[in-house]
């Protein structure tokens, strides 16, 4: 099916709220109606038509040609269909997604995939801080679905992860997997300081030896587990690199013993 194409004409002069541009919110709208959708975040009105050339297609699949770090909330709350951004985006991309596919071919900023419950997000470049994490005041971060970052991620990736899979094919910043409640975080490269800080449950997999986890993570030896094979089979379609880490021998650390202590960090040996 031919996608709805929004071609960026020039860099936006203010930050944009891109959340109205999801398949379900644009369903049934004509090209003209779509051009009239407001995206501004300041007092100055800015409509889709002011920024983009709109070529008609099914809103089930939206292709945004051109990106900007001022594109905030791309795909926020989307429930089905797909959005592809051929460029970079700002904060909160894919926040509270409940389904569908979101692909960002460039970098995305902070709170990518924040609080998502289902669906699939792919970031072709790097992701900012708090990948999948909650906003201030929220109890849980991401609680389902899968997010794959082909590059690196900033600090606190998978913060308060509740369920679902977060994959970082590059390196992760400090406090990766901090306060995780459950779920799975796979970092193909190295992670920064305090990985798994206050981890309650859940699985963190690291492809490269990283900073010390501290004395509250206890060494449980090197293993090749059936669970790794299942996880590799599940993530393999979306990330061959993550799957390859899971097929290696992994050293298991149990923790964080400072809290519940039912989580685990696997480090490739």
């Amino acid at each position: 099916m031919k996608p709805l194409v929004l071609r960026l004409r020039a860099a936006p002069e203010q930050r944009l709220d891109m959340s109205p541009l999801t398949p379900q919110r644009l369903a049934g709208k004509s090209e003209r109606e779509i051009s009239g959708v407001e995206l501004q975040t300041t007092r100055r009105t800015l409509r889709v038509g002011d920024l983009f050339d709109v070529s008609e297609g099914s809103a089930e699949h939206i292709l945004i040609e051109g990106g900007s770090e001022r594109f905030d909330r791309v795909g926020e709350g989307m429930s089905a269909g797909s959005i592809t951004v051929d460029g970079e985006v700002g904060i909160r991309a894919g926040r509270q997604m409940t389904g569908g596919r979101l692909a960002i071919n460039g970098n995305s900023s902070h709170w990518t995939a924040s609080g998502m419950t289902a669906g699939f997000i792919e970031i072709g470049g790097h992701a900012g801080d708090r990948l999948g994490g909650p906003l201030a005041g929220e109890v849980e971060g991401m609680s389902g679905g899968m997010v794959v970052v082909r590059g690196d991620a900033g600090a606190r990736a998978a913060d308060r992860l509740r369920r679902g899979v977060v994959i970082i094919e590059g390196d992760a910043g400090d406090d990766a997997g901090a306060r995780m409640l459950a779920g799975t975080l796979i970092v193909r490269g190295a992670a920064g300081a305090r990985t798994g800080y206050l981890l309650r449950r859940g699985t963190i997999v690291l492809g490269a030896v990283s900073g010390d986890f501290g004395p509250t993570f206890v060494d449980c030896g090197v293993h090749e587990l059936t669970a790794h094979l299942l996880m590799a089979a599940y993530v393999g379609e979306s990330s061959a690199k993550a799957a390859s880490v899971l097929r290696r021998s992994l050293r298991r650390f149990l923790g964080d013993m400072a809290v519940l202590g039912k989580g685990e960090i696997f480090v490739a040996v």
Binding site: R163, T226, A227, L230, K262
Partner: protein
Amino acid sequence: MQPLKLNGVLIDDTFAEAFGMRAAAIVITADSPRWARQAAVTMTGYATSVIGCGCEAAIDRELRADQTPDGRPGVRVLVFAMSVTDLQNQLRNRVGQCVLTSPGSACYGDLEGQERLKLGDSLRYFGDGWQISKRLGVKHYWRIPVMDGEFVCEATVALTRNAVGGGNLLILAVGSKQALAAAEAAVEAIEAVPDAIMPFPGGIVRSGSKVGAKYKSMRASTNDAYCPTLRGGVETALDPEIASVLEIVIDGLTSEAVANAMRAGLRAIVELGSATGAARVSAGNYGGKLGPHHYHLRALSPEGGGHEPPGEQET
């Protein structure tokens, strides 16, 4: 009607009468085919008949590493019971005692469906608090720490209410050697049919039963009409030259699977022929009043022409 004789084998104009059952399909994997098979053989031991064993179970087929969820060699097992409660209890106990305990094993459901049986959801307590829940997409697994690593088990498995139990073939021959040769040929052919199992020893029953007995406590007793040694003393179903009878009992996930299995078995018996195999093939029924599924031998025979759709419900 003309008697139907194929390659010297007389095909009776009768039908097998079968019953609705509840069934589950699971995949057991291990580090090697030998240990996947071992777990499956142990789990399906003492599971020939629901009357005395609580369920009927056997290996459906072996799976290559690329056909299983975890990429290790595996075996597909089918379990049949008369009720969902029986199926639940049997599955939990058998997987808990025979698969959980087997080196390197893991266990997964292999049917799709909304109605589920608890598997890992009840076995997880063996982990004594160390069990780990892992959700990957729509699948939910439990990882239970054991002495050789972890036992991985899917939390729930689907069941089917459309399963059929009691498809059968009666193989009549002039001697025990010929009866066994024909039965073995049929078993080998039926083993290749998906979604169907033969729960008796090696797929063969030598003690077919009739309903009731002279003793009040017995619900079933020996099928005297087919016992060659009683031929002169009872109302026999045997021709004078028949000296040995063996039966093959088939359970299938669908009625179609049972029909396919009987068709494959009949073909193998006919191909072997009467010289070294069966003189006659019949089937067990109760007059057609008890079981909803009827499988007519002539319609399922290699040259049966398929006048009536096999396995169709007649009630």
